[in-house]
């Protein structure tokens, strides 16, 4: 299935629009990208999952790491656009309360 993403900057915000499945095969690459962005000084990182159809536990791991990493650097990492399975998994795992923000 694979995963691709595009990164856009708008003012102080960096938005990663991901497309595909975040799973065992693709999560490391995404994780490295998020780490680089946050290490590179981005303080407001948003991942848009509107075009992501699946996120397994390794994908959740990547999102949690980015969230914690951003918090340590005094920044934020939030998720937007989750629907269907991805929305369900964020809700079931209770991560919605950390990762989702009402106003992305």
């Amino acid at each position: 299935m694979g995963l691709s993403w595009a990164t856009a900057r708008d003012g102080g915000r960096t938005t990663i629009s991901a497309r595909g499945s975040i799973d065992l095969h693709s999560s490391d690459g995404l994780g490295d990208h998020l780490t680089e962005l946050i290490d590179g000084g981005e303080r407001c990182v948003i991942i848009d999952l509107t075009q992501v159809d699946f996120c397994d536990s390794s994908g959740l791991n990547v999102l949690i790491r980015a969230y914690k990493h951003a918090a340590r650097q005094g920044g934020t990492f939030t998720v937007t656009g989750a629907y269907g399975r991805v929305d369900t998994v964020l809700r079931i795992t209770g991560l919605d309360r950390f990762l989702l923000q009402g106003d992305p």
Binding site: D53, D56, S57, S58, I92, L95
Partner: protein
Amino acid sequence: MTAGFAAVPEASWQGWLSYVAEASDLLAGTLDEERLVALLAQLVVPRLAVWCAVYVADDRLACVWHTDEELADPLRAVLTESGPPLQTVPGPWPEFSVGVTYVLPLVARRRRIGAMVIGGERFARGAVELAEELGRRAALALDNARLYAAQLAMSRALQRSLLPPALPDIPGIESAVVYEPAGEGAEVGGDFYDLFAAPGGDHWRFAVGDVCGTGPEAAAVTGLARHALRILAAEDLALADVLTRLNRIILAEGPRSRLMTLLHGDLCPGPDGTVRMDLVSAGHPLPLVLRPDGTVREAAVPQPLLGVMDEVKYEPNLLVLYPGEVMLCVTDGVTERRDGAHMLGDDQGLERLLGGCTGLSAGAVAARIQRAVHDYGAAPSEDDLAIVVFRVG
């Protein structure tokens, strides 16, 4: 066929080359000692020798193969009588007086792991050298098989240690469990379950969990969680407080910690036939309850998975199960079972499946869910799965 003729040499060296190549493929294709030994003997007889005997670790005579099948048993008797060849270098077997013999010690990774003996009236030119070549390859394959068997035994022992030896009887509740680790069994899975009596003897606790990842690192976290749950229960800690504590214990492992989803419950059968239950679903697929009329409901409110945030405080959900009701707990090996782009749990797939299980015993419900998982996709599942079912009354 009769015994006592020399092995027939291959017509051309190309023939021998493809014979050795094929033999190598065959030997490299299995990790089972018994099969390897039989394969080696059948590769050697009748092409290179009239008979062949293979000894494995501790000089156990593992295989005797003879061109004339009827002579295999008498030959085995003679070989058993004479004992194994103990020589460490290739050469004739002077203690064995029937026909010509040649002993080829099987050496892998500089260790003698057995021996092959070939015999006949006389050997064709090059036969001994070819047998030696096959022996070298077989020895390496046998040694790989031994290492694999050791790893398999270790994984299985570790896996067993993470699951309860038996399920306790709970008055008024039928329980059933299905557990399937993924793959061929060389890897320890990340799913686990437990069910045990809590202090006082009037309530029981169960757990269904899934540690992110597989292998020994995940198993270490599973072991930590399983023992923590039992110890904290024995200390009479309230259910939700157990989760709060376990979360901190897992996070304290630092870089060795893993994400973990856990459904933990405390079952208390009442005198009126109902079962009162405290439940906490820490990031786990929600338990489902089936009523006798076929309706299905989610039985807990999601709370965060373990190993993420230090400050999470878990709260118990109270549930009362009535006679005839069934509770189904699964891991994501069930809900995320794939068939192409589809998953079993899509569009309330598991709810619909459970809705069709009215009137079934706990064991029959578990078996039906398991079969549905197997039948869902054409490809075998790549994930572990655990299914725990309780039925009241």
